[in-house]
Amino acid sequence: MSDGPLIVQSDKTLLLEVDHPRAGECRKAIAPFAELERAPEHVHTYRVTPLALWNARAAGHDAEQVVDALIGFSRYPVPHALLVDVAETMARYGRLRLEKHPVHGLVLTSIDRAVLEEVLRSKKIQPLVGERHGADMVAVHPSERGNVKQTLLKLGWPAEDLAGYVDGEHHPIDLREDGWSLRPYQKEAADAFWHGGSGVVVLPCGAGKTIVGAAAMAHASATTLILVTNTVSAHQWKQELIKRTSLTEDEIGEYTGTKKEIRPVTIATYQVMTTRRQGTYRHLELFDARDWGLVVYDEVHLLPAPIFRMTADLQARRRIGLTATLVREDGREGDVFSLIGPKRYDAPWKEMENQGYIAPAECVEVRVTLGDDERLAYAMAESDERYRFCSTTPAKTRVTEALVRLHADEQVLVIGQYIDQLDELGEHLNAPVIKGETRVKERERLFQAFRDKEIRVLVVSKVANFSIDLPEAAVAIQVSGTFGSRQEEAQRLGRVLRPKADGGGARFYSVVSRDTVDQEFAAHRQRFLAEQGYAYHIIDADDVGEEDPAR
């Protein structure tokens, strides 16, 4: 009996025993075709999904390698059905190809006539393709390139896109590595993208995704359209690009709610792109405003659905997606695969943490108990009011104060959802509050002050969650938040994960009301964080020096 580190489960999950001497070797072998799903301390769970297998195919791995890895590292016999399934799934990728034909233009070709016949019989494909040229080839209108890929993926026959890209309008962009240099993994990521043509780079928060974007732009040296989540993020991209590349302020335009600049490098927000008036997207022409050579999608996992539809028309342009996770709350991972491209680079958080690129974080859940009156009121509250009620209990304010006192000489972020609560906290902690209505200028001033350590405590609402850069936040305290979504956790953790000058560990507190729906959400959070491999503790409010009125 072999004593490999891997156990293959019948639901196509792979359990990797991390303390096993061959674990590292095994991880390398299975990472290309299995998505890391959970990484708690002893046994990591990978999942083999069709998309993961196709990603592996796109990266040049074949079924033989996958089967060898499974058999070679598995502790127990691998069920044959699973191996067959792997081989069959992988064989589906690339049977169909999108290619550029010298005479017929964009064509869908097949090395397997039966497959082509099968997909062409589909009612969904018929309207997307044109004239048939021979038995193995059918014309595709260039504007349907994305739709065809999307539909083929849904039919289970993902097409390999070999039709190439337009170069776009040339524009010189160089990285200026003065006083900093690309980290090895950033270079690998940018190179992997460039060789793959289009695709997604997966890097944890704080690992410098913007720089990977900049490196990709330097590769392309062409006009670039960057799509980001919000205005603050747009500013930061601009700052970062000016700092890291040869681009000057005049060459970078912002296309946001307030400014509508179109320049060789244009940064637009998803929000403005998806604004509709009278049922039509008013800013669609931006995509055609210039002959873009590269499109950068920041935070691909948040890409809104209309952008997918627009992206379907951009298939001739190179696209790079940047994200911390391929998991989408809406389950549209397949659209990312077919429209942006396959995964081109992936680095495990833990490994980067060990290499010192991101700071280790400790997660602590602090449980407060509601007072008797509060419990009664909570029990009687309407179900849609319950979360708000329990997550804004005054007890949380007291605990937060105690935590801030505990970390008296560190930069502390307090994150919450409800404005009243945030205002109250700001008052108690004597700290500025950033919320939706705070003007961008003021926001940036406060962030800068926080960075400069002029302000020690900052209270922020949801708006601060995405794509901002707070390098010195060593402690984050979450008092309330939207229903434990996985992305949000990743974001929040990203806040405190930034490498710190002193190398100290970051702390992430979440304050939770015991025996309420708040605690249920916390359970999701606990699971997510523990699965990501973070140390997680649960303590009671009295343990932080707060007197619990309930006791």
Partner: protein
Amino acid sequence: MERMTGTDFSEWLRGRSDERLRALVAARPELVTPVPAHIDGLAARACSPSAIGRALDRLDRFSLAVLETLALRPGAAGRETLSSLLRRAVPGDRDDETLGRALDAALDVLTTRALVYGPGDALLPAPGVTDALEPPAALGPPAAEVFRHHSPERLDVLLRDIDPAGEGGSGGEQPDGGRPAGERLAALLADPATVARLVGEVSPQARAALDELVWGPSSGRLPNARREVDAASAHSPIEQLLARGLLGATGEETVALPREVALVLRDGRVHRDLSPGPPALEGPVRDQDLADRTAAGQAFTFVRTVEDLCEVWSVDPPGVLRAGGLAVRDLRRTAQLLDLPEWAAGLVVEVAHAAGLVAAGEGEWLPTGGYDGWRIKATEDRWAVLAVAWAAMERAPGLIGERDDRDRPLNALHPDLRRPGAAQMRARMLAVLESAPPGLAPTPESVLARLAWEQPRRRPALRDRLVRFALREAEHIGVTGLGVPATHGRAVARGDGTAAGLLAPLLPEPVDHVLLQADLTAVAPGPLTTDLGRRLALTADVESKGGATVYRFSEQSVRRALDAGHSADDLLAVLERHSATPVPQPLRYLVADVARRHGRIRVGTASAYIRCDDPALLDEVLADKRAHLLRLRRLAPTVLASKTSRAALVDSLRAMGYAPVAESLEGDVVVARADARRTEGQLAARVTASNAPDPEVIDAAVRAMRAGDSRRRPVEAPEGQVPRSPATATISALQEAIRQGSRVWIGYLDSQGHATSRILEPARMEGGYLTAYDETRATVHRFALHRITGIAEIGR
């Protein structure tokens, strides 16, 4: 010629030793059902077309070719003659020794089965064999047959064209010693020189057409086949052939190549590309160990899947269709639950049924009591039960989802899936797999080719499809791995009961520890020991199964364990003892937190309650001695709970002199979960290794025939009636007689109800019948046990 040797055949058969006769009966059991009265009867039966047909069906391609070669030769032939004829049919430089050995083996088989008889240097096909072989080796009918219906004038024309120099020509007259034209034609066509000359005369196209027909099929369609043509008027290539008798019209629209011509054109060979041995299995070669492990992995998965199926069906059984079987919808749902494609789910369901683990009961498909016994066995034993049941299944699960002749869907578990012969086919396929060299993954095509070689004449309906199904099933069950017959799979093929033992070391060994993690999961890196497995199943929910099991702790699961009477300390102690790693803090916290809230609210059962605003009155009731029987308990000053029903309580209180009023049951809900259900189900079909008759029966049959043959006078039954004896004594006396091989004297009521008296030599007893050699009738007979009125010993 052969027909005249019917008595020769009888005599030859009579001359065989008893041992050879027993071998004959064992190989052709249909010859002794019922047992013939004497050897002549046996010979007659052995020559009957149906019996010969069945015997031919069992021959492999080479033996059949030997028989065909012999049958095509006029008169008897020796081994050497056959050998030289066959050698020409074997392509390549095959060494004579191989061919000789194969020929000897084939001749042994053929004589043992009485398909060929006679001394070694003058072998003849048994009477009837030549007819049964028709047409042999894909040859056309003999010339005499082909030209039988040609008019004399037409034959004359033909003869003139074939043999212009010959004396032929004048119709009606027979210058050649009075031989009819047909015979002369046949003789001419059997002459190689003539045929060569005729073939030389026709056009190349005509020769090509001839080549097509030589190795069969030997006939073709041709409009207006009976056209009048002669060598001079022939235009088309076919007409050139017709004009020379190289083709003959056998019907209005069919022509055939006369056998004699074909044999000449085959250049003295009867067969083309004859192989003395079976075709080799082909396919990729893999590591046998790896294949074993893979098959074992699949076997483990299959057993678990069957268990999952039974567990699901015990709480949520699907209905039995009115026509029997499982609805398409239910199968689809089951497939989803088991995460399998539908064909595989169909297989799981069918095998579970064949193994007697599920059956129809009360209109639903339910696990049987047998399932409970199966479940507690070791994994390898459970697998062996399933694999054996699969091998013996007379059903074709691969057909599920297809449509029958009347375009109705074939449902899983439906009687229509029965395919007689399926089990035999599977057994033959397994035997082929068993013979594969280690590591070879035979391709389906080579398995089919081997099966076709072994029984060329038998092509049961769907054979090829059934074999392909069976190969796929073998892989799914874990009989093969990576296409290679696994060591334990070969044991299933042999049916020697060693499968479980061979499988066991390949399966994951039970472990007694788990890995606890901060995300509240426990990973058992292998199957758990029973005790720990039960504890964990109670405390945590299973999240993923396979080689390992992943459990997840949640508030609900911990509460379930607490409800089952474990304390928080208990739980943590068990986890600490069995965890290879420290218990994570969040898990401790979870257990403590659930325990903190556990049991704060208490719930009990009471059948009825007594409510009264005046506590003093309740004091009075409680104090009443007669109230003891009511088992009252005070829950609050103004409330009493009782274990008796409301009606009884009201009656009792009335009897005690109070005036109670019954309250309605508003809001009172009784939730009862249906228990896991079981059905009786019929016993799984008993697996018999083969359907060959018992040696004792064969023995008895041969003795009977010999007895009948030697005209041995039936033994006189002793005078008087056999004393009546009780049934139990009869049976035990018969068993004793079978064991000792002794004779007994019985009284027997024949079918007319007449009391008769017999001397028997009992051979076998089963299913309420006794098979015995009846000395009073000199025959083997089956006796209904209930008609045996008495039994007595008889001196030898």
